[in-house]
Amino acid sequence: MTEKSWIYAVLEAAQHEMREDPAMTWIFELTPPVASNPDMPVINLETEFGRRRVVNTGIDENWMASTVIGAGLAGSRSVTYIPYQGAAMPFQVIQNHAGKLRHMTGGVASIPVVFIIELTGQTPGFAGQHSDYELDTAYAHIAGVRTVVPSTPYDAKGMMTAAIRSPDPVVFLNPAGLRTLSGEVPDEPYEVPLDKAAVRVEGSDLTIVSSGPGMPVSLEAAERLAEEGINAEVIDLRVLKEMDTETLVTSVSKTRKLLTVDQSYYTLCPGAEVIARVAENVEGVRYKRVAFPDAPPPASPEMFLWMRPDAENVAEAARQLVG
C-alpha cells in the first residue's frame, strides 16, 4: 500500500494486465502512458511494451476507439486513452458498434476493450470545448457498454483492472479534475466491481448522490453540514450504467430526502436518472438537484466558477431540503 497519484494507479493496473497478456494493446494520442510516483519505478508502457503494442499516430479519436474495437473483435484486449478534446469523436462507433455488436450477433461477438474517455470541466479559462463536463449522459444512455466514473485513485485502479478483465466494452470516464488526487493504493492488482455504488458517508437526514468530479464538493459539503448537525448520507454512484438502483433506494427509503449533484448540464444529467429511479420506488420523498446550468462553460473565471456547483452550493441546497 503506497500513496499514489490517480494516473499512476490507472497505469499500474494496465501495466499488470499487459504483462500477463502479451496480446493486449494500448492506444494513446497526446499523453504517453508514462507516470512516476515517489519511491516507485517509473511506468512507461511505451518503452516497456514497444511501439507495436503501445501506439500513437495522428489526431483521430474515432480511429483510436475503432481500432481497439477491431482488436477486441479479433480477440485482443485493448485500451485507448481518449483525451477530453476528442471525447465525443468516437461516440458513434461506441454507441452503434461497441455497444450493439454482442447483442446484434446473438452473443457471438465479444469486445473486451476499455475506452478511457477523459472529461474535463475543471479548469476556468478554456471555455466551451475545453472546460465542459457533459458526455457522461451520452455514454450512460446507450446500451451494451458499461459506463463507469471513479472518484478516488483506489477505485480508479480497481475499476481499471475490472474493466480490462471484463468481456464487455467499458467506457471508463476519467475526470481530468481528479488527476491531482492521490491516495492509498495497493501495489497488487484488485478489482472494484463495475456495478456497485459506494456509500461514502453514512447519515440519516438526507441522501446526497454524486459521481466523479462532483464527489469532492459533495464530501466537503457533507462535512460542513455535519458541523451544523445535519447528517448527510453521501453516495458515490461510480457506475452510470448499469446504475445500482438498490443502494439508492435503500438510502432514500431511510432519509426521504434526495439531493443530486452533477457537473454535467442540468437537463438529463445523471442526477435526473437517480431521481427518476428513486421516484419510481420510494414514495413521499423531497428532491433537489444541483447541476451545471444548460449553458456551455464560459472562459471568464468569474462566470465559470459561479456556474460550476461548489461545496457551498451543495450545502445550501441540502439545508433547504431538510429545512
Binding site: T25, T57, G58, W63, I69, G70, A74, G106, A109
Partner: protein
Amino acid sequence: MPNSRDDSTPEVEALDRVDTPEGAGPTRRGFLRIAGLAGVAASLAPQIARANGRIGYHAADLSDERLTDLYRMILRIRWHERTMADKMLSDPDYRGYNHFYAGQEAVATGVCAALRNDGPFDQIDVVYSTHRPSGHALAKGVDMRAMCAENDFRATGLNNGYGAEMHLSDPSVGFIGADGMVGPGPVLAQGSAFSFRARGSDQVSVVFGGDGTYATPHFHSTLNNAKLLDLPFIYVLENNLYHQYAHYSYSSPHYDIADAARAYGIPAEVVDGQDVMQVYNAAYEAVERARAGEGPTFIEAKTYRYYNHWGAPGAEVGQLGAFGYDPLAISSFRPEREVRNWMQRDPVDICRATLVDWGVLNAEQAAQIEEDIRAEVDEAFAWAMEQPLCNPEDGVKNVFATGEVPARQFG
C-alpha cells in the same frame, strides 16, 4: 504487375511457389493458357471493366479441385440470392430480406479463396463485410442453413435471430460479420489487423466495402493508419457504380478509386470483378504481402449488382436481376440497359467458360454441379423455414456477456 510496387526478389520467389495445399497438379501457368482465358473474357464482353491485364496467374496454379470449388462457391451465392429473391416475391409467410449480391459473386469468392478460413480463432484470417453480406458470408465459409434461418429471424439461426442479414456473424470461420453502417467497417477491420501485428500473428484482416465507403471520413483514417503502421490489411472496394441510387461520380472525383489509395503509398490494383481468377490473383498477392509484414493492399473490383439496392423491387420470380422501377429510388435510378449490358459478362459464365477452356470441367459436369448446388440451397431454405421462432423474453439477454437487463416496457 501491380502499378505501385516494384517486383522485388522475395515476391518473385513467392510467385514460383505452387499454391496448392494439396501440393499436386501440374502448374497451369503459361502464355497459352493466359491468352486462352483472355479470349474467353473478351468474347463474353464488349465492355471489359478496366483492369491491368494480368489474368490467370496464381489461379492457374490451383488444383482442379480448388478451381472447381471457386465455381461451386459462385453458384452457391448465386442460387442463394435467386432463391431468396423468389421467396420474397412469392411466399407471403417469408419474412427475410436481403441486399442482394448477385452479379458480384466473383469478388467474394476470389478474395476468400486466398484466405485461411479454418483453424483456431487466433490463426484464422478475418473478414469484415457490409450491409450486403450474404456473398461474403458464404464465401468465408458460413453455414448456409444457419444463415438462412437467421435471415428469417429463427431462434436457431446463425445469430439466434438477434441480427438477421445486416448483422450476420460467425467468428468460428473468421467472418467477423456484416455491418449495416457505411464507414466504420473498414476502420474496425484495420483494428483487427492492428492487433495481429501487435501480437506477432501472421493473420490477415480483410474488409469488403462498397464504392460508397470512399466518401466516408473513415476511408482516410483507415488507409492512412494502415499505411503508417504497415498493417496486414486488405481493403477490397467493390465498385458496383452506385451507392444506393447515386452514381459514384457524385461522391468521388476519381475514375479509379484505387488512385485514392495509391496516394498513401499503398499498393493498389484495379481488377475485373466479374472474373474470379483476376480477383483471386490480386487477393493472393495481397495476402502474401500482408503475411510478409509488408503492409496493406487496396483492391478495387469493378463490378455490378443485378438487383436494386435493397430487396427485390423490379424483380420477377424465376428471372435473374431486377429491371423494373425501384420506388425507393424516388427521382433517380439506373438505366435498365446498363443492367443488361453488365449481365453479358456474368461471373458464373466467365468462371464456367474458363474451367471448361482449361479442361477442368466439361459442360455436363458443370451443369451437374449447378443442379447439386440448387438442391443444397433449396434444402437450406426448407430447413430454415422449419426452425423455431424466437422467444420474446430473450431480447433482454446478450446485452452483456452475462445476465440480462431488466424489462422496462411495463413501467
